[in-house]
Symmetry: C2
Subunit: 341 residues, 2 copies
């Protein structure tokens, strides 16, 4: 590997992330939960969700967007429904606070929903989905973000990038997990084009006047498009509704208004549905879950790739060989922490 990168074991990544988050002023229980998300990002080759996010987290703490000392509170307003009030803290500890109750409730009721309320989001949904799928559950997770995306037929920002994540347990191995933005591309992808001075395809978004543009900066200042035309737009609206008003939390437009120009991470809610196949099938569940393997075989037999395959391949390497991290990124992180100290 080239000299501008440094080798780290995953334990070293964890220690580094924890040390930085602690110096930033995050409470110890938040530090542990947030650091694991970044370890998962580095482990799975998702650099944009690895320690790069320390910059984002530090900014949210420094600007007061997140409450660094929030204590999540779990309640059960209905037999199959759980809520965690995150108290304005990062989503990770709120999830950990509700996680076991969600697993237990899905097993006793057949399915259950967990709403995370009043949390700050900067991470992907797949680490949470994977944690639940490891318990043998089928999982859907959705969350709004900030108003950056135009509905199909419009050109002004209204929706968030509104990811949908889904997970399915597979016997003896890598679960089937996807997690994608309902926007045409991830916002970070446009940001990378802007930094590199590269044009973006004309179907990624609109400028602030609602005109097509290939300039990344104009799209960032204007509106992104949804993926898949009116269908992706409908799904994006579904995410807004289910993880917004349905759970008593903010839409992406409200999240952006709450941010008030501080440039912090999205604030609001997240909805996680967890379903126990044994609730439908009892003892036959394991055989039926195994039967789904024929579908995955049918996909791969065509040379098509399963979602998450790239992450799993990266994981197989990084678990034994560690990862390589940009020295410049580490220097940037150290500098931001010094500035905010």
């Amino acid at each position: 590997m080239s000299d501008d990168r440094v080798h780290m074991t995953l334990d070293e990544v964890r220690d580094f992330a924890r040390a930085i988050l602690t110096r930033v002023g995050l409470a110890p229980d938040h530090v542990g939960a947030v650091a694991e998300t970044m370890v998962a990002g580095e482990r799975d080759g998702c650099g944009s969700h690895g320690i790069y996010r320390l910059l984002v987290a530090a900014h949210s703490v420094a600007t007061g967007v997140v409450d660094a000392h929030a204590t999540p509170v779990l309640t059960r307003p209905a037999p199959a429904i759980l809520r965690v009030d995150g108290g304005g803290g990062f989503a990770q500890l709120a999830f950990e606070t509700g996680r076991q109750a969600l697993v237990d409730t899905a097993r006793t009721q057949g399915l259950a929903a967990l709403a995370l309320n009043n949390v700050v989001h900067f991470a992907a949904l797949w680490p949470e989905v994977e944690a639940l799928v490891a318990e043998g559950l089928v999982v859907i997770a959705v969350t709004p973000s900030h108003a950056w995306v135009a509905p199909a037929g419009g050109t002004k920002p209204l929706f968030g990038t509104n990811p949908i994540a889904f997970g399915w347990p597979r016997p003896g191995g890598r679960p089937f997990v996807f997690d994608f933005a309902t926007s045409a591309v991830a916002r970070g992808e446009i940001e990378l084009h802007r930094r590199a001075g590269r044009p973006v395809p004309p179907d990624w978004g609109y400028d602030a006047e609602g005109q097509e543009t290939t300039e990344a900066a104009q799209v960032l200042a204007g509106a992104m498009r949804t993926f898949g035309g009116h269908k992706g737009s409908a799904l994006s609206a579904m995410v807004e509704l289910m993880a917004g008003p349905m759970i008593g939390d903010l839409t992406s437009r409200e999240s952006m208004a709450r941010d008030g120009g501080r440039g912090g991470s999205p604030i609001g809610g997240e909805l996680i549905l967890a379903i126990d196949p044994a609730g439908f099938l009892g003892d036959a569940a394991a055989d039926e879950i195994a039967r789904a393997e024929a579908l995955f075989d049918g996909i791969e037999a065509q040379g098509a790739r399963l979602p998450g395959a790239r992450r799993h391949a990266a994981r197989a390497v990084s678990l034994t060989e560690g990862v390589w991290v940009s020295k410049q990124l580490i220097a940037d992180i150290e500098n931001v922490v010094k500035e905010n100290a």
Copy 2:
């Protein structure tokens, strides 16, 4: 209106559909449930889901794909989970058999799932979604179909057209309901192109050799594409899994194998999730649901259309003025019934 069409009130549509279904040999309780789907199709201006489907239903009865006398059986394998074994009959009566239990369970548990098993599908999902949304519930419904669609990255049929339907209750009016295929277009759309001898866009599908084609007949004999690239493909897989193995029922490939070349409607399962916002929010639910109106206003203020708007507009007319139906279609239906008598 032109002379090749005949005017009917919706009551006349209902009477006609019931008479035909009875003559085809469908048991009386099935007749009532199936006819209502077709009335809804005509009422909402969806001709392809109106009495046109009498041809499809008659074919499924005549070929023995559907059991015309099946008696659905409701069970509750877990507190929040309901199953209806449709006994090989049409899905509509299976849905009606589980409908009230689903509503009641969602209200007491906060959310509930209804699996329809061993049913024959030829109708859209939105009539079922609307019926539940009218009870104040938020609803998701999915079902596989026959293996007609290639996964992204492949060119061979594996997935069904696998619709996803969603519904959200709106105060005092028209619910927000969408129902779309995860294929690039509906299969019926390609069929219409074939009949008219018109080419299809090259991104609708592949021929039997896996090559791009603009010939509708070649796509019908080959494979359709999913909408939205790998994201739509991932969602299609999700539908296969959740309304297939998760509920102990067929995937689209298994449905097609079960059909055995009879050309009948898809056989298998359907999954319906119903969520009561009051389960999260208690007495605050009505205010939060009303708060979602700002999202719909934000969509329409851009000149973008809400899903279902066209259906609601057609309904407003047809409820008072009735509908116009093709004389040729009625003659075709009468002929099919005579042939099968």
